[in-house]
């Protein structure tokens, strides 16, 4: 009995723990044998060059893509049991914004797990959706058709939908891609507020220059995992060279 206990590996209790994850589109793996664990109550950036598998890692961890191998746990349990505590913000360009829906309709989608297929939408649900919109500064746009919004506004609507989910772990795919400066400030403000409430934020991020200002920790990836830890320890010259190789010069130009 005692032997059993010793052999049992302790389960990682972090909000998201990935081990041995390999994903492939066709022949070449996009993500290869990645082990990474994201710490609770922290903001972590997933950083790496284009095509490094940043988005793929998130999608495979969430079951949107089927990995070739790997194990994913959330809060120490199988991910499927913890879906209620996880909110995902996809890339804005991954959906068709001509879809017949108003801003409020999209935010209400975040309440699906609560409402179920046929649950009635009550005043408190609507209030939660409006509150989420207010947190991203979009309460005045509730009845707008989503196609009429600017890119930054669309990104904020996606974040509001995630807020309506009331999750403990927020996974965002390129939340700052192609948004205006005001939206970028609004989004980072909301994410930091979530972190200060003790929630966990993990975001795919492509702008090396803003990583230290925005995030507590960083995970550097280029198909394989390179380093994970506090920003200052991860974003070293040698790690960045390992991730970006010859492309580091052009990536750094933004700094």
């Amino acid at each position: 009995m005692a032997l059993e206990l010793v052999r049992e590996k302790p389960v990682d209790q972090n909000p998201l723990a990935i081990s041995g994850l390999t994903v492939s589109y066709g022949e070449k793996p996009a993500v290869f044998s990645v082990d990474v664990s994201f710490q609770e109550g922290r903001m972590t950036a997933i950083v790496g060059p284009n095509g490094a598998g940043k988005s793929t890692l998130l999608k495979a961890a969430l079951g949107i893509l089927r990995p070739l191998s790997g194990r994913v746990t959330a809060f120490g349990r199988p991910l499927d049991e913890m879906r209620a505590r996880i909110a995902y913000v996809p890339q804005r360009a991954s959906v068709d914004w001509d879809f017949p829906a108003r801003v409020i309709d999209v935010v209400m989608m975040g309440l699906y797990r609560e409402l179920g297929l046929l649950g009635r939408v009550r005043a408190r649900h609507r209030a939660r959706a409006m509150e989420s919109l207010a947190r991203v500064g979009m309460e005045g746009f509730a009845t707008r058709q989503i196609g009429q919004l600017s890119g930054g506004q669309q990104q904020r609507v996606f974040l509001a939908r995630a807020l309506a989910q009331g999750a403990d772990l927020y996974l965002l795919d390129e939340p700052f891609a192609g948004v205006d400066a005001a939206t970028e400030r609004a989004i980072i403000g909301v994410l930091k507020a979530l972190r200060d409430e003790g929630r966990t934020v993990v975001a795919v991020h492509h702008d090396l220059s803003t990583v230290p200002a925005y995030f507590d920790r960083a995970f550097l990836i280029n198909t394989t995992a390179i380093a994970e830890g506090p920003v200052a320890e991860v974003m070293t010259e040698s790690n960045l060279r390992a991730a970006y190789g010859g492309r580091l010069g052009s990536a750094r130009q933004a700094v």
Binding site: T56, D80, R83, I86, W97, A101, Y112, G116, Q145, S150
Partner: protein
């Protein structure tokens, strides 16, 4: 508008309207998922199914043929999904591959088998036989309350009614899940929704509607109803519920107006004989779509719509 209407026109009108509703309803989702061509695909792939059903049952009868058509439609639906997912290609391309291959297989099967001696009518397949679905026992409005007379209703009416009800139930009960997974499949997956099963079920329901409608009214209406009413409806409103409501309205208007115009239109113009109701119904949906494209309040640019398409999706 008495006995003659009940006997000759009531059943075709009802069947036409039900077929239009059954196809337009899933068509709304298929259109937004860029899979609207599935109606076209299904009306082609049913050929091998019908031939096989004939070979197995040895007779030209509605029930085995519908079963064969349904089985072929399901096979094609699964094949399309498999090719789409494994090949990671456009749904349109997957459909094109599957329906041409299966249709060609059906032609070969037809030629090589005893079925070629049987009159499997291409014209029937295209235009259906809406005008022939008359209710001989319908002696007047009173017949609607007469069980004896009701038994004489064309069996297509009952079949189409049941299928339309099933399609409506499917859409109504799974509404929220269908809308979310149509708009944002990745997000739907993270909510725990079985997106692959939903996608397959939607296409299977569309296939069922198509096969039932195909038998009653011909493929031309099926293809038109999957696309035209939902597309026209999208140009009228910016809400999903509104779009579905408009599409059903357009579908019923097309069915009724098309039937009436086909029956009486040529006479009004001085011609002697009526034209194909199926052809006219499909034409009316096309005209409605054209009108919506020109005058619809929500067509692009009409309401100062600016669509922002930002950076491309990366992996």
């Amino acid at each position: 508008m008495g006995a003659e209407f009940v006997m000759l026109s009531l059943a075709p009108l009802l069947i036409g309207a039900l077929a239009a509703i059954a196809c337009a309803l899933p068509g709304n989702f298929l259109l937004l998922r860029r899979q609207a061509l599935i109606g076209d695909a299904i009306s082609h792939v049913v050929l091998p199914g019908i031939v096989v059903a004939f070979l197995l049952s040895g007779r030209v009868a509605a029930v085995p043929m519908m079963l064969g058509a349904g089985a072929a439609a399901l096979v094609s639906v699964v094949l399309i999904e498999v090719i789409r997912r494994l090949g990671r290609i456009e749904p349109g391309a997957a459909m094109g591959v599957v329906f041409t291959a299966m249709f060609a297989g059906g032609v070969l099967l037809l030629e090589q088998s005893a079925a070629s001696g049987v009159h499997l009518d291409v014209q029937h397949a295209l235009y259906g036989n809406l005008e022939s679905l008359i209710w001989l026992d319908g002696y007047g409005w009173g017949a609607l309350l007469d069980p004896q007379a009701l038994r004489g209703l064309p069996p297509e009416l009952m079949r189409m009614g049941v299928v339309t009800l099933a399609v409506a139930l499917f859409t109504g009960l799974l509404w929220r899940a269908l809308v979310i997974s149509t708009f944002d499949e990745g997000f739907a997956r993270t909510l725990g929704l079985p997106v692959r099963v939903l996608s397959l079920a939607l296409v299977a329901v569309a296939a069922m509607a198509a096969v039932a409608a195909f038998d009653a009214v011909g493929s031309i209406i099926v293809i038109a109803m999957f696309i035209c009413p939902p597309a026209a409806a999208r140009l009228m409103t910016d809400r999903m519920g509104g779009q579905v409501a408009w599409s059903l309205g357009f579908a019923v208007i097309s069915a009724v107006l098309g039937y009436v115009l086909a029956g009486y239109g040529p006479l009004w113009l001085g011609y002697r004989s009526a034209v194909s109701a199926a052809g006219m119904i499909a034409t009316v949906t096309g005209v409605l779509l054209a009108l919506a494209a020109v005058f619809g309040p929500r067509r692009r640019g009409a309401a100062g719509t600016v669509t922002a398409q930002g950076s491309s999706v990366t992996r």
